[in-house]
């Protein structure tokens, strides 16, 4: 741009201004713009190729290490600018949800009692490690027979190797129906023919979303909610999630008035609400919906002619005095249009086998089942795993022992943990199930805002070295709440975690 000025002095006179200054100026301007753009394009691409090593703190996406094919790519001058889809462009950006960022930070510096005692303790993933010893024992005793089959079970290679029905083996559906019946209190029967099995509850939610709503439609979701829903429902199905805010004054319980308001506001904006997505027991709060509330929900859905998706993956992880009631049970006793209610379930939480990828959709709606069955082709459970899990679930004595022991251990850890937190001055929301407590740290944040919450989260991460999930990642409307999972540590490790939390609590108190 500095070149423009001298030109004016070169050509004189009125016309000269135009010929001598304006036009050349304009030409120069555009030339420089063009050069700048070319330079920034090639420098951007070469930057991408030359910075493959450790990810910076603001971009937690792990960058691929150099390999022979990559080094060849960067050495070429021609950088292909072939485009990816809009969806891919969005997905490829570094994650901005603290839920996922937190998980990444733990991966970079994971706590290990011997190898890395100063690492970050994972309290942000609702995995259940409390009863892995039981599973391990069972597997060691039964694995060889359960996959290949021993004489009396007749599970030859032909049973697991060729193409199997994509929506799951019938034996597994029957075993799962039985397990669900047991784990949900024994008062409702599940029909295996109403099931479609999927590789985990995650694809089950996505598939249901594809079946129940079109791109641009929306589901109502009570907050705070599981951060994964944003991915499962929004990404590929393109369905929006409209938050229905719940408050601490209600212990974050759902209320129908809030639902009504959210629904009519959406309608005013021209957004078509196709369903309500709830998790029951709820993640991250851990409360259970009462039968009354379930009835109210059904009435609401009936009135608006929309669907209900009930994610019941934590049904077996109850520890409180309240009994879990599945929405299926309420359907049984009330004459209501069953075709609008769909349940998601899986074995990752209640049976601790998240790695095996076992999930399901349960619905009375034949059209949904039909469509979901076709879609399960994209998310089928591996056949040998289906056989293994069927064996495990059919071992009645083991399952009985597991369910009881699991509940007891969760209760023990939960009660101790909440007790210790209370002693630190941190209250938790009243919860009866799940693998986490929903802790009120609003007294420790300054300012009382999402920014304050973020700063506290960072303190926990870098000072206390624990990963907990901030309420903002769960779309909680009140700042300062955090989800702390307690099933990823042992009972003996609780004092260590509490000690680390205490450090931060004291830092906050002293600075206020």
């Amino acid at each position: 741009m500095k070149l423009i000025v001298p030109l004016q002095s070169v050509v004189q006179g009125r016309n000269g201004f135009l010929l001598g200054s304006l036009i050349p100026c304009a030409l120069f301007y555009f030339l420089q713009l063009y050069l700048k753009r070319r330079r920034s394009n090639s420098s951007n691409s070469s930057n991408n190729n030359n910075n493959p090593s450790s990810p910076s703190s603001s971009s937690p996406t792990p960058v691929l290490p150099r390999s022979s094919s990559r080094s060849n790519l960067s050495s070429r001058g021609s950088i292909s600018r072939v485009r990816v889809s809009k969806l891919a462009s969005i997905l490829s950006k570094p994650d901005d949800s603290l839920y996922y960022i937190g998980l990444d930070r733990v991966l970079q510096d994971p706590y290990h009692v011997f190898v890395n005692p100063n690492g970050i303790i994972q309290l942000g993933l609702s995995d259940n490690k409390l009863c892995l010893d039981l599973i391990e024992k069972w597997l060691v005793k039964n694995l060889e027979g359960s996959v290949m089959g021993n004489g009396d079970m007749n599970l030859s290679i032909n049973g697991i190797v060729p193409y199997q029905p994509f929506d799951g083996l019938n034996e597994l559906k029957i075993a799962l129906a039985d397990f669900m019946h047991q784990v949900m209190g024994g008062s409702v029967e599940f029909d295996p023919s109403n099931m479609v099995l999927t590789s985990g509850a995650t694809p089950a939610i996505e598939i249901l979303s594809f079946c129940l709503a079109d791109q641009g439609n929306a589901f109502l979701v009570p907050t705070p909610f599981y951060p994964g829903f944003d991915r499962d429902v929004r990404w590929r199905p393109g369905i929006d999630l409209i938050p229905v805010h719940c408050r601490s004054t209600d212990n974050f319980n759902l209320n129908i008035t809030a639902l009504e308001q959210a629904f009519s506001q959406a309608r005013k904006r021209g957004v078509k609400v196709r369903g309500i997505l709830i998790s029951n027991p709820s993640n991250p709060v851990g409360n259970i919906l009462t039968p009354d509330m379930l009835f109210s929900l059904l009435d609401f859905a009936e009135d608006k002619n929309i669907h209900i998706i009930a994610d019941e993956v934590f049904a077996g992880s109850t520890y409180g005095s309240e009994e879990f009631v599945s929405i299926a049970e309420v359907l049984d006793s009330e004459y209501i249009d069953k075709s609008r209610v769909h349940i998601i379930y899986g074995l990752s939480k209640d049976l601790s086998i998240a790695g095996f990828r076992v999930g399901l959709i349960y619905s009375h709606n034949k059209t949904v089942l039909d469509a979901a069955k076709k879609m399960s082709r994209f998310a089928t459970i591996s056949a040998p795993t289906q056989r293994l899990v069927t064996s495990m679930l059919s071992d009645k004595r083991f399952i009985q022992e597991y369910i009881e022991t699991n509940r007891n251990r969760i209760r023990r850890v939960h009660d101790e943990f909440v007790d210790c937190l209370t002693k630190l001055g941190i209250k938790c929301a009243k919860s009866s199930a799940g693998m986490f407590c929903w802790a009120d740290m609003s007294g420790l944040i300054k300012p009382y805002s999402e920014k304050g919450e973020l700063e506290l989260w960072e303190k926990f991460m870098s000072v206390a070295k624990i990963n907990i999930t901030p309420g903002s990642a769960c779309h909680c409307i009140e700042p300062g709440w955090f989800r702390i999972c307690f099933t990823t540590i042992s009972f003996e490790e609780i004092p260590l975690v509490i000690e680390r939390i205490r450090k931060v609590v004291e830092t906050c108190k002293s600075s206020s």
């Binding site: 060849n72 072939v82 990816v84 889809s85 891919a88 694995l143 079946c211 998240a354 095996f356 040998p384």
Partner: protein
Amino acid sequence: MGIEIEQNHPSVELSSIATSETHGENSPYFAGWKAYDEDPYHEITNPSGVIQMGLAENQVSFDLLEKYLEENSKASTWGKGGTSFRENALFQDYHGLKSFRKAMASFMEKIRGNKAKFDYERIVLTAGATAANELLTFILANPGDALLVPTPYYPGFDRDLRWRTGVNIVPIHCDSSNNFQITVEALETAYKNAESMNMKVKAVLITNPSNPLGISIQRSVLEDILDFVTRKNIHLVSDEIYSGSVFSSHEFISVAEILESRQYKDAERVHIVYSLSKDLGLPGFRVGTIYSYNDKVVTTARRMSSFTLISSQTQHLLASMLSDESFTDNYIKINRERLRKRYEMIIEGLKSAGIECLKGNAGLFCWMNMSPMLENDTREGELKLWNEILNEVKLNISPGCSCHCSEP
């Protein structure tokens, strides 16, 4: 339950995806399967049932697999020590087990006679190639865009590439005049075709070796296709799930080899799909992969693979199996031999019955020319013949129209 009251519920609506026919499963390809399901052939109990010849499943080398699994069932345990089991049971990281990815990479290299290298960090795992193809489509194209696919093609593509993605397939017409090879003219025509329908073309998707033709694509044609996609600045997806089922190992050329010979110039537009369902005969295990030379695609595909993860147990088991060099070398060799023998047997048999086939060199099927037997040289004529074969001869085979072949 109390008094039953007749109520008129306004039935709750479903999505257009759920109620559409875009999954393509009403084609004769799938109808044939239904017929088989209802009346399956069995040597002893149902000798007059329908023989399934419409499903590309490899059962010729079951015995080898059976022997391995029986001798190595310990491979599916997790060895001693609590840590390794715990990690395995909870392990649901979308990166996938490292040992498994390494084993897959080296297996893929082996199948290509070590003529191409594969970096295990570029492997994204999916539950089957079906999911891999759909995932790639979500990543490379927007709803309404087009993928160019040579005809005849695998009927499942109608569902995998179009159904939930909203992307269109525009056919690249190939015909018997040159043994159904893909030509540059056909590519250009397809491209213009898409443009005239106001669709943006985002990629070309080829199956190499081809299903249903059963031939591997020649080097010169692959070069032409690569040049074409580079010219148009679009992607190339090469579905190579039958690469291990080529009867003679030196006849198959993967796009990976060509990229290597070009020092990976413009490789960022190329993605390979692979699976163990055909080459290793393990479709029940649901193991597929995407191999991409494009970092953004790898990262994005990984994240999206959360919806289609492979069980950690399976990954562990297969990591052992695929790293067992003596097993894999032996399997690949014997499998090829047996496929070749069977192919020759069937071709001979068909020839003596007066039916010519396309000269193939791969796959689990042959592409028969039954046009001389058609009453009418039309789609209806073809379907009529197909119906007779299904209902009277009791053979489920797939008619060309279900593969979108332009010649009846």
